[in-house]
């Protein structure tokens, strides 16, 4: 499995100042698969994507993409690697001063010398793939949240990346857009022969489209498995997460001092 892995994360520790976020995590993303990384808010999922993209460096351990250790690459090497990656940001991060067309064409114009006629055809093909060819003349402000996410998806795959990272692609979407984006992630991955990493906390949608799931909590991988294994798992954390239970290994109450003392109640009352 390791020989076919596109991304290998080995014993990675990462801390913001003195606050540890990841504590020795190991993950493997095989080529051609759609992998979900799940966990509660603030558990380090997005940090993981930033480590893969080279925006952050691990305190120890390494992240290897296509056989190259990311944090050992120089500026040029990192940019070269990033040209082969795509990342869909949580709210799309479309360039608001450019039309939909120019957003999708952006990387093609920056990184290639293709003539404008070919760029036009490619842009329309990418937009057609996400079902939004008719919006090419619109500005991002004229799109709904779901449409903006799909345009951003078209922009992300504009140069046919080998690795596509999705940061909370389902956040704030209505049920129809959610299913559409979910299906697109799967279909585009298979059509491009890419590998996809989906960071999310939307369990039900992810279970439908991904090949493998990692659960992260408190900076460590607490569970992993295929969607079938995860849905039937009896591990307390996975059970609480998948079924959205209020209390469990992840407590409802934030740690605090004694409740009675806070209300100034005398002992015995």
């Amino acid at each position: 499995m390791s020989s076919q892995a596109l991304v290998e994360i080995r014993d990675v520790n990462f801390a913001y100042d003195s606050r540890p976020i990841l504590k020795g995590v190991n993950l493997t993303f095989p080529k051609g698969k759609v992998i979900a990384v799940m966990g509660g808010s603030g558990c380090g999922k997005t940090t993981l994507l930033q480590l893969i993209g080279g925006a952050l460096k691990p305190s120890s351990g390494y992240v290897k993409v296509d056989g190259q250790v990311i944090h050992e690459l120089d500026h040029k090497g990192l940019y070269h690697m990033r040209r082969r990656m795509g990342m869909l940001f949580q709210f799309g991060a479309l360039f608001t001063d450019m039309s939909v067309y120019d957003n999708v064409a952006f990387q093609m114009r920056e990184h290639t010398d293709l003539p404008e006629e070919i760029i036009r055809d490619l842009v329309l093909m990418k937009l057609h793939a996400v079902g939004l060819r008719g919006t090419h003349h619109l500005m991002p402000a004229e799109l709904s949240g779901g449409m903006a996410r799909r345009v951003a998806l078209a922009r992300t795959v504009a140069l046919d990346p080998m690795l596509v990272m999705y940061d909370e692609p389902f956040a704030g979407l209505d049920p129809i857009s959610l299913t559409v984006v979910g299906n697109l992630i799967r279909r585009l991955n298979d059509a491009l022969g890419a590998t996809s990493v989906v960071v999310t906390h939307d369990v039900q949608e992810s279970l439908k489209i991904v090949d493998y799931i990692y659960f992260i909590a408190d900076g460590v991988v607490v569970a992993e498995g295929t969607p079938a294994e995860i849905s039937t798992s009896d591990k307390p954390f996975v059970h609480q997460f998948v079924h959205g239970e209020m209390d469990g290994p992840v407590p409802f109450h934030y740690p605090s001092s004694n409740y009675g003392q806070d209300l100034n109640l005398r002992p015995g009352r």
Partner: protein, 262 residues
Amino acid sequence: MTIVENLRSLGHRIVNAVWRMGYASRFFMLILFYSGTSFRRFHLTIRELFSSGVMSLIIILVAGTFVGMVLGLQGYETLKRYGSESALGSLVALSLVRELGPVLAALLFASRAGSAMTAEIGLMKATEQISAMEMMAINPMARVVAPRFWAGVISMPLLSALFSAMGVFGGYVVGVVLIGVDEGSFWSQMQAGVDFQHDIVNGMIKSFVFGVAVTAIALFEGYDAPPTAEGVSGATTRTVVESSLTILFLDFILTAFMFQGE
């Protein structure tokens, strides 16, 4: 204990200020380092020239006209006491070209275009557009920041020249058309009083320096803004305050060098 805490807080502020100045200097050097794209793909700079320069035209032209009109009125009142009304043209032009043109145009540019640059870059950062660009292997310093910097630097002297030209026109309207100062002496005194090298070139140098300062401050504040609504609003305010003070301070320094011992 309180003294120790106060000392610690003071030290912390000083260290932070020094660190920020270092960070700003590094940012400025990076702008210069990544400026190649702004000239190789000059259409990027032209686009920014439009939004920062052309879009500031109206405020600059209107303000210049009014300032010139006020100069015409005030100048006439003062010169009349000494029977030198004919020197009005020279007074209006020298005041504008040496001082008011570069300084007021820069102050207006800081409030109109500088604050817009800060807000735009701050919001681009807050909405992850800058991060998205970095993840696409496109350097935002080269693609976003440097073209805006050069657009500001190029447009500032031009706006300042237009401000002065409109000011002269305003002074003419008030002095010659409304009050009735002799037209011939208005223009001839101006021609005789204003020296190209000494006044106009020095005024242009001033506005170039102000352009560098205002645009660099606006871009740095935008790039350094915390990615929140409060962060961007604070950065926009800082741009206007810091730019204004920097312009006035630099104006004093430059004037001291340029017009010493007259």
